[in-house]
Structure formats: structure tokens, C-alpha cells
């Protein structure tokens, strides 16, 4: 039996050795990937292949192939948790970068299956697994970031953005966004930042844009997410839609409403009523729209940001009142009536004053409130500056 095993390993091993000799990272990656037919071979599914590998291969390849074979075994037994654990990073050779990338992608695939398996056991465990994955990736990242030896073409620094994107994905999932900060700093200070592949840069800007949103830095978020959207490959509808889910609320907060065409094109009709409500100053419709698609908005994590649109909606509603009354001294009562028509619950004149005070403070209205006269006195020139001019 032992003899047969070696015999089965050998033909493959020759290919691997050749790939190693010619430093053909891409080919090696293919051979050691899960897409290669050898994976199905039950005789290669060994739980402890280390000995066999040591016999035929030199370090560090023996370890690498052994890890791969352990993984094959685990996968064959549907133990994705163990499979995931078998991934290790190897630090010495730079041509590993593409092999290494492959491993990361594999790790991710394995990881997704592990995630599904673990989800049946309870939420907590998925979080733990993700954190462990992040730790492993972080150590790879440190290796790449500190690679000062090789020339620029060979440098491990090229692996950095790829790893960072993987880490971002995890941090967003476990809701630990503050961990993104040092990674962002690393890229900002890197001289390679504009030379990475467009796909990687698009992904990077997507995550950084989302982080900026979370930090309420909307102008920055718009910049990053727009870049991501525009440079996303035309054929990748799914990606563009995902970016748009975050770009739309940001743009709306800055006063730019999407067209129905755009929403139709990307199957985001959930936003139509929201858009309509905000531009018309229709608080009632806004509340209804948010309630109607609540589950979708909450799942995407944009519900709280969409609620911020209320302030823009107030502004638009009050502007209508101003245009209707055609005077610069507006009775507070008029605003109260407008709010009551929008079925805003339990609002009184004191709250109206507060809403107006906030709009004035934010620069959406130019004027002041006179409590004695119960009036809002607005500037004769441009009392409701355009939304895009207000930061």
C-alpha cells in the first residue's frame, strides 16, 4: 500500500518539482490548487502526509505540499474548519506572490464553507474564526510590508493591497472598522499605491469609502465610492450595484438625487420612494419608504444613514413653505402645520424652533428665529442655499 501511494504522488511530484525549478509561480499555483484534478484522488488524501513529502521534496516545499495534502484530506472529509487551519504562509521566496495569492483565494473559499458549517453551531464561532483568519492574514501582511530586500519588480509589497482588501472584508464582517485605520495609513504612505491593478484599487476604494461613510465623512466617501463605481469593470453589474448601494445615500446627503433610470438599471428600486420623498420634502413618504424596505436597508447597514436624510427633507419641506408664503418673515405656525400635514407625531412649536435652529446652525437656512414674534426671519438673498454648497 505504501508503495502505491508514492507511486501516485510521484508523477505529480515531477510536475511540481519542475514548476519549482523554473520558479513558475503561476503553474505551481495551478498544480496545488483545488481546481486541479489530483484533488479527487483518494490516495492523495492523507491526514499526515508530512513523512512522505519529506522523502521526496526538499524544504520548504515539503512542508508546503504537506499542508496542501492535509487540506485535501480535510476537504474530502468535509471538515472545512480543519482545512482552513492547514493554510500557512511561506516567507522566503517572492515568486510565491501569485502562488500565495492563490492560497489566499483558496483560504477564502475554504473559509466560506467553514463559515457555513460553523453558522449552524452558533454566531459566536464564526466571529472567532474570522478573527483568527484576520490574524493569519495580518502576519502575511507584515511580511509583505517589511520586504525591503528585492527590487521593485519582485517585491512582496505587491501583495499588500490584495491582503489589505481581504482584511477589510473581514473587519467589516466582524464590525471592527477601527482596525482598518493602520492599513489605510500603510497604503497612503506607500509609493506603489497608484500602480496596483485597477481591480484591486476599485476594491480598496470601495472599503475605504464605506469606512468614510461610517465616520460621517461624506465628501470623502463620495470621492472614493465614485472612483470605485466609475472604474469598476463594465461587465460586473453585481459589483457596480453593491457600490451604488453605498454611494447613493452619500450622494443624496450631498443633495444629488439619482434618476429613476439609474435605479432601474441596477435593480435598486428600493431607493425610488426615498429619493422622491427627500426631493419633495415629503416626510410622510420618507418614513413609509424607510419602513417598507427596512429589512433591506438594515441588512446593508445603510438604514441609519438614510435616516440622516430627514434633515434634508425638513429643509426641502420648509423651503416649500417659504416659496408658498412669499415673505421673509415666516410665522412658526406655518411650519408646524406643514409638519402636522406630514403626520409627524407629537410635534409642537418648541420642537419646530429646534428643527429650524439646527437647520440654521448647519447653514441650510440663512436667518434667525424671533421667539417674541413667533417668526422665522430669513435673509432676503438666497435664504435656502443649494444643498451642494453646504458642507
Amino acid at each position: 500500500e505504501t508503495h502505491l501511494k508514492i507511486h501516485y504522488i510521484l508523477p505529480r511530484e515531477e510536475q511540481v518539482l519542475e514548476a519549482i525549478d523554473t520558479r513558475d509561480g503561476v503553474f505551481c499555483a495551478e498544480l496545488l490548487s483545488f481546481k486541479h484534478p489530483h484533488v479527487a484522488n483518494p490516495r492523495l488524501q492523507l491526514s499526515s502526509p508530512e513523512d512522505k513529502c519529506q522523502q521526496v521534496l526538499e524544504p520548504p516545499y515539503d512542508e508546503m505540499v504537506a499542508a496542501h495534502l492535509r487540506c485535501t484530506y480535510a476537504v474530502a472529509n468535509h471538515d472545512f474548519v480543519e482545512a482552513y487551519k492547514s493554510f500557512q504562509a511561506h516567507k522566503e521566496e517572492n515568486w510565491y506572490v501569485s502562488l500565495f495569492k492563490q492560497k489566499c483565494i483558496l483560504a477564502e473559499q475554504c473559509f466560506k464553507s467553514a463559515e457555513q458549517q460553523l453558522q449552524k453551531k452558533g454566531k459566536g464561532k464564526v466571529g472567532d474564526m474570522l478573527e483568527k483568519a484576520a490574524e493569519q492574514l495580518m502576519s502575511c501582511f507584515r511580511v509583505c510590508a517589511s520586504d525591503n530586500r528585492a527590487g521593485i519588480d519582485d517585491s512582496k509589497k505587491w501583495g499588500m493591497l490584495f491582503l489589505i482588501n481581504q482584511l477589510f472584508k473581514i473587519y467589516f464582517k466582524i464590525n471592527k472598522l477601527h482596525l482598518c485605520k493602520p492599513l489605510i495609513r500603510a497604503i497612503d504612505s506607500s509609493n506603489l499605491k497608484d500602480d496596483y491593478s485597477m481591480a484591486q484599487r476599485v476594491t480598496y476604494k470601495y472599503y475605504v469609502g464605506r469606512k468614510a461613510m461610517f465616520d460621517s465623512n461624506f465628501k470623502l466617501a463620495e470621492e472614493y465610492l465614485s472612483f470605485s463605481f466609475q472604474h469598476s469593470h463594465r461587465s460586473c453589474q453585481r459589483n457596480k450595484r453593491l457600490i451604488l448601494i453605498y454611494l447613493l445615500p452619500v450622494k443624496m446627503l450631498l443633495g444629488h438625487m439619482p434618476t429613476t433610470q439609474l435605479l432601474k438599471k441596477y435593480d435598486l428600486m428600493q431607493f425610488t420612494d426615498v429619493t422622491k420623498a427627500v426631493s419633495e420634502g415629503n416626510l410622510l413618504l420618507l418614513n413609509e419608504a424607510l419602513a417598507k424596505h427596512e429589512t433591506f436597508f438594515i441588512r446593508c447597514g445603510i438604514f441609519l444613514i438614510l435616516e440622516k436624510l430627514k434633515i434634508i427633507t425638513y429643509r426641502n419641506l420648509f423651503k416649500k413653505v417659504y416659496l408658498l408664503l412669499k415673505t421673509h418673515q415666516l410665522p412658526l405656525d406655518a411650519f408646524l402645520v406643514a409638519l402636522k400635514m406630514m403626520q409627524v407625531e407629537e410635534v409642537d412649536i418648541d420642537e419646530v424652533q429646534c428643527i429650524l435652529a439646527n437647520l440654521i446652525y448647519m447653514g441650510h437656512i440663512k436667518g434667525y428665529i424671533s421667539h417674541q414674534h413667533q417668526k422665522l426671519v430669513v435673509s432676503k438673498q438666497n435664504p435656502f442655499p443649494p444643498l451642494s454648497s453646504v458642507s
Binding site: 492523507l46 491526514s47 499526515s48 480535510a74 472529509n77 471538515d79 474548519v81 480543519e82 452558533g122 454566531k123 459566536g124 464561532k125 466571529g127 472567532d128 464590525n175 461610517f214 438594515i298 447597514g301 438604514f303 441609519l304 435616516e307 440622516k308 430627514k310 434633515i311 418648541d350 420642537e351 424652533q353 429646534c354 428643527i355 429650524l356 435652529a357 439646527n358 440654521i360 446652525y361 434667525y368 428665529i369 424671533s370 421667539h371 417674541q372 426671519v377
Partner: protein
């Protein structure tokens, strides 16, 4: 061919935070599959009682009446409670005889609440707080080591959270050497997140109450809000949670008038949870009004301002003055240029507790912490 046992996934209980990991790592290395089970039937293991007695390290709440003035005071076994002890190398925290099982832990907590915290003869309350805080920490430590979870765990944590919330209000303004709000906050947040984690499985009678308390204590926190939005429908639509969400919405929309109005509907403990945010909400109101009502010719009545701030007139006037708002008899004059953020030495949160105070009425502390309406 041998099938490796290493491929079986290990049982692993979810831990809430770094601190718990630290206190637990020793145990996990030893007995991975079976958590230690305590057998100590008293609030304090006898070995510890004897040791502390011999070393004159009993707290005076634990001393046998009449022996206080002895060279070595005697321990009252009915009142001695296990201390919190920092995990250290070589220290075995898993001896069953020194660990208290869940039912004893609950009894211990009830003793601490009814006979120490709520006992009016025990003064000053800062000392009561220190003692109870430490002993509750030891209770949690025993729970971590034994990996207690579920309703037993929740019962203990609920009382802990209520105690710490009450303390955050009652001791607000005390000198730092007697009470550190930052330390209280750390332990409160830790207990609260552990409790909310317990709630993620099974049904719990008080879940609505604590989800709401978390939202109020963490007013405006995107994380707390997102968590609340993802709660099961029934919990999310319960009245305490809806009220807490409404307050958060008012905060996010920057409408302190609405926020303070809604705050009037809170019960005593909810008001304790919210209270640390009140001062900044009031300050924010003055800031917004300084801009919104900025006009030399306009005056705003102090009485009205006091109403919306939920403060007495004199306090409202004082608050205005500390922020550079000009007070003129019964009126104030707002001006965006003169508002100043600078925190005042004299006017602290503790001076403005009436909103919370008024809600306590004749509720006993014991009932507050046990959650009896």
C-alpha cells in the same frame, strides 16, 4: 491509515472581551472539554475566610459584631464574601471547593444587594459601592471559570448591570479617589455586552428592559443602534426599546428639545442610564439656539428655556452664563458669536440631577436592582 483526532473541531465558548479571555486562558489550557464545577456552598470559601481572618484582611462589613476592636477581628461567616483576585502565574483558580456554583452565586448577589447596597445604615455609600463592586467582580470571575451561560448567567448579570447603572448616577460628581466613573463604565459595558450575548439564545423575561438600557446608556452609538435594528421583531417593537430608539433618533437628528421631552417618559433606572448624556444634550441645545436665535434685538424668556431644558430657572440661568450667553433679568439674549464651549468648574452634572431624582420617589433600592416594578 490513522484518522487524525485533530480534525475534530474543539468546543469553544464565545467570550465577550479581552478581559474575559485573560481571566480564562489558564483554565482553557488545562481542561478543554469540561469546565470546572464549583462545590463551595458559602458566599466565601472557608479557606479564604480563615486566611483573611489570620492576615487581618477582613472588610469591616464581614467582621463579627463585637470583635471589631480585637487585635484580630473574627469573621462573620454569614457575611464574608469571596474577594476578587487577579489571576497570576502559579495560582490555581479552578479548585472546585473554592468555586461557587450558579445557585450560590445568585444567593451571593442577592445578599450584596439586599443586605449591603440597599441597607440604609451602611454609610458612606462610596464605601458600600467599593465593596459590592469588588465582590460582584469576583462573582463574574467564578462564572467565567465555570463557563456559566444561559438564564443563570443572565440573572446575575442583570442585577450587576442595574447596580452599576444606579451607581453611575448616585456617585456622579464624587471625588476620583472615591469613585472612578471610567472604571465603572468599563465594567458596565463588559457586563452589558456579556448579558446581551446571553440573550442571543432562548427566551428571557427581561430582555426588552436591557436592550433599552443598552441603547440609552450608549446613546448615539452606531454599533448599539445597528444591534438594536437587528433584534427579533417582538423585542424591537416592545415599548422600552421603542422609547429608547425614539430617544436615539432625536439625538441623531440633533433635536435636543425632543430628546429631553421624551426623557420625561423614562423610568428611574432608564433615566440613570441616560443621565451621563444629559449635560451635553443641554449644552447642545444652547449651542443650536445661540445660532438659531442669534439676533441683538431678540430676547428669549428664561422660564421657557428652563422648561425645555428640564431645569429649574436658576440653574438654567447659571448654565447660560457659563456658556457665555447673556442673561438679562427674565430673559436671555442669544448670539452665535458669544457662545463658548468651555466646561465650568462650578456647574457639574451632579447639580442637575433633578430630572432623574424625581423619578426615584419611594422605590426601594432593593426593588430597583432586583427589577421589581
Amino acid at each position: 491509515m490513522n484518522r487524525s483526532a485533530a480534525s475534530r473541531p474543539r468546543p469553544h465558548s464565545r467570550k465577550a472581551g479581552g478581559r474575559r479571555r485573560e481571566e480564562h486562558c489558564k483554565t482553557e489550557e488545562k481542561a478543554d472539554d469540561v469546565a470546572p464545577r464549583g462545590t463551595c456552598t458559602t458566599m466565601c470559601p472557608i479557606s479564604e475566610v480563615r486566611q483573611r481572618e489570620a492576615q487581618n484582611r477582613l472588610h469591616h462589613f464581614e467582621v463579627l459584631a463585637g470583635t471589631e476592636r480585637n487585635r484580630l477581628p473574627r469573621a462573620d461567616v454569614c457575611r464574608a464574601v469571596k474577594e476578587y483576585s487577579r489571576p497570576a502565574a502559579g495560582k490555581d483558580t479552578t479548585r472546585a471547593s473554592e468555586l461557587r456554583p450558579p445557585d450560590v452565586l445568585l444567593k451571593t448577589v442577592c445578599y450584596l444587594v439586599d443586605d449591603v447596597a440597599a441597607c440604609p445604615s451602611r454609610q458612606p455609600w462610596t464605601e458600600v459601592y467599593s465593596f459590592v463592586f469588588d465582590r460582584l467582580r469576583s462573582v463574574r470571575q467564578d462564572m467565567v471559570i465555570q463557563r456559566v451561560s444561559g438564564p443563570e448567567c443572565a440573572s446575575v448579570l442583570e442585577r450587576t448591570v442595574r447596580f452599576l447603572l444606579y451607581a453611575s448616577y448616585r456617585l456622579c460628581g464624587q471625588p476620583l479617589r472615591l469613585y472612578d466613573p471610567h472604571i465603572n463604565d468599563t465594567h458596565l459595558q463588559e457586563s452589558l455586552s456579556w448579558l446581551l450575548e446571553c440573550y442571543s439564545e432562548g427566551q428571557h423575561q427581561h430582555q426588552d428592559e436591557f436592550q433599552a438600557l443598552s441603547l440609552l446608556y450608549n446613546l448615539g452609538s452606531p454599533r448599539a443602534l445597528q444591534h438594536a435594528l437587528e433584534l427579533p421583531h417582538k423585542v424591537r417593537h416592545s415599548s422600552p426599546v421603542q422609547l429608547a430608539l425614539a430617544l436615539n433618533r432625536a439625538y441623531m437628528e440633533r433635536n435636543p428639545v425632543r430628546l429631553l421631552r421624551l426623557a420625561q417618559r423614562l423610568d428611574f433606572l432608564q433615566a440613570c442610564a441616560l443621565h451621563r448624556h444629559l449635560l451635553s444634550c443641554r449644552r447642545d441645545l444652547l449651542l443650536l439656539y445661540s445660532h438659531g436665535h442669534s439676533s441683538r434685538n431678540c430676547r428669549f424668556p428664561i422660564q421657557k428655556l428652563a422648561d425645555i431644558l428640564s431645569l429649574e430657572c436658576s440653574l438654567a440661568a447659571q448654565l447660560c452664563q457659563t456658556h457665555g450667553i447673556h442673561v438679562n433679568g427674565d430673559y436671555v439674549v442669544f448670539s452665535k458669536g458669544s457662545f463658548t464651549e468651555s466646561p465650568s468648574e462650578e456647574l457639574q452634572c451632579a447639580h442637575m440631577h433633578k430630572l432623574v431624582d424625581d423619578k426615584q420617589q419611594d422605590l426601594s433600592l432593593s426593588n430597583i436592582i432586583h427589577g421589581i416594578a
